[in-house]
Subunit: 240 residues, 2 copies
């Protein structure tokens, strides 16, 4: 079965967490809004958003046969067991989902550093407030979240690369993406924190080395980070 | 088995979404941080937050035997099938979880109306920015979310009270709680929107009438809304 992924073209955004899972799984999928032709493009996405029967609230959403699944973490909850990207036990699956939801929480906060007042306003219209929110994010929230994930990695049996141990899950892929985004948006702040979070750095390295992920990152399918996405590089929001 | 719920005492907060599910289920549970004595109170909660083995990032979390589950939506994902608060089919469960994650999204935005710059600062230190963020929330975000849920209700077979039809799920309980919180925090804005979202109002009414929920709401277990929680009534943040 071919999956159909719907997400805004031109940005990694939340769609990227799904793309990484599909790529690692070697799944057959179309990135619908980036294609042209009948049944493709942004218009096809907007049509599904407007439907009455179980509409998604926002992209990304994934079509799998007759099923239409919205919310990033929910899509990964669906894909995980189908593509060996989640543990087999219920306990393990709940734990991986819990980690994913915590990643989703910091993603919202990273976004809000450049949009603290309103998503409908331009960054330039809330730049002053963005500086204050970004300072709080860099000095309080970022260390709190990264410290948490480092502690989770510390709690594993030694010598294992991933969050749950030897086997990769979708939460590892998402954590890699989160770290990549944070390095893009806050290069100075992140480079200072690097020594404190060595296990996180190793996990990100392990994910990037996986053959399918490495091939994906080197391909044209990987949209570069840019200032329309969640993680934006505005030097004035980074550490001095 | 007796569940142990861990959440900050004194506020409804995110714990309330879990409490409502436990109450509707008639489940045996202890609200640990509100109890005193050995193994209880906030200290017992902080001890579990500090543990190395699969620590939760933040309250609420639920202990079910040896399992410790964090993240509100994840706790509900666990409780749903155990207490007939989620559909039996995978398709149905994913849909209810998708709705729950969308409710979680607006809950973050409702919180940020009074804390747009930093959770570590007092409201009074960000009051000016809070007014701007709250105005955007009331006029843009709130109608977008409520319009979405109203549309979901419109898409059901007619005459059915709940999000998925005749049977209550945990997402209905959470939607009830969201609406109660919004009415508390933004009474003028919500009373103006009431006519546009009649199906939502009926759903909230249906939930409130359920015997176990009605008994809970009338009990001392239901903490009143207050200005330490997610939904706070600051008249200057409401519509004129």
């Amino acid at each position: 079965m071919q999956y159909r992924l719907y997400y805004w073209p031109g940005i990694q955004g939340r769609g990227e967490f799904v793309r990484l899972a599909l790529e690692e799984a070697g799944a057959d999928y179309v990135d619908v809004a980036r294609e042209s032709g009948p049944g493709s493009g942004v218009r096809a996405m907007l049509r599904l958003l407007a439907r009455k029967d179980r509409p998604p609230f926002a992209p990304p959403f994934l079509q799998a046969g007759r099923l239409l699944i919205g919310q990033t973490a929910n899509i990964l909850l669906f894909l995980g067991p189908r593509h060996a990207l989640a543990p087999r036990s219920e306990t393990g699956r709940l734990w991986v989902h819990q980690l994913q939801l915590t990643i989703a929480d910091i993603v919202v906060e990273a976004h809000d550093t450049h949009h603290p007042l309103a998503v409908g306003l331009y960054y330039e219209q809330q730049k002053r407030q963005a500086k204050r929110r970004a300072a709080d994010f860099r000095t309080a929230r970022l260390p709190k979240y990264l410290g948490y994930f480092e502690r989770v990695l510390e709690g594993r049996p030694p010598g294992q690369p991933y969050l749950t141990g030897a086997r990769l899950t979708y939460a590892d892929l998402s954590l890699f993406q989160l770290l990549a985004g944070l390095h893009y948006a806050f290069p100075r702040a992140m480079s200072r924190l690097r020594r404190r979070y060595r296990r996180l750095a190793r996990l990100a390295h392990s994910v990037a080395q996986r053959p399918r992920i490495a091939a994906y990152l080197a391909s044209a399918r990987r949209i570069p980070f840019n200032e329309d996405g969640i993680f934006r590089y505005y030097p004035e929001l980074d550490a001095r």
